[in-house]
Amino acid sequence: MDTQLKPAEKPLWREEFSVFKNDERYVTRRQLTKFLTLTSLAMFAGNAWVLVRSRLRGRAAPLPRLPIARVGEIPVDGVKLFQYPHPGEQCILVRLGDTRYAAYSQKCTHLSCAVYYARESRELVCPCHNGHFSVWDGSVLQGPPTRPLPAVRLERQGDELLAIGLSNSGAG
């Protein structure tokens, strides 16, 4: 123990970088509670950031209307991949019937692996952790995902299918 200086006279750097190994590792109750309080501040900052993002989301620019396929281009139970609303945001279009189409974000809501369409079970499946989503409305059927797949809203204009927006639940 350093006995040459009284505790009140010891500068902070001498306490933090003591020449005695045991003193350097010693964490006072005050230091630990300070660390925990700063962690609490970080958690609060995280919540505040989510609040700001949710307020800004309402003011975001409307999503583009993008032609993604022609009617009849893909067979029933066929799929087509496309990017919407921005390049790099991969989505999947599935033809469910003669006139029924559904499109979803291809990013699994668990850990963002790419989902694929399983024709045998007519489900969207994530191969990473075996998450299954309904192809009819994107809801979670099994596995670790907790949120449904975001659906791409579709509109038919003549012979073309357009992607016109995103929704967090329900088929487009």
Partner: protein
């Protein structure tokens, strides 16, 4: 100390639940979550200040005694 840890655990859970709800499109829980998180942080800060005062008094008494 244990109380601060408990408050922190609740705050961590609150952050993960709020984020999950926000990503699902349920914005109605975000504001209450932020308010409660702020209150929890205020409680942690109050407890820290209490511990700080107790320790300062103890050090002062030790040095003068």
């Amino acid at each position: 100390m244990a109380l601060i840890v408990i408050l922190l655990i609740v705050q961590i859970w609150l952050l993960s639940a709020t984020l999950d709800a926000y990503l699902s499109g349920h914005d109605d829980v975000v504001l209450p979550g932020a308010i409660v998180s702020g209150l929890l942080f205020a409680a942690c800060a109050g407890l820290y200040s209490f511990v700080h005062r107790i320790e300062s008094d103890a050090i002062k008494n030790r040095d003068s005694g």
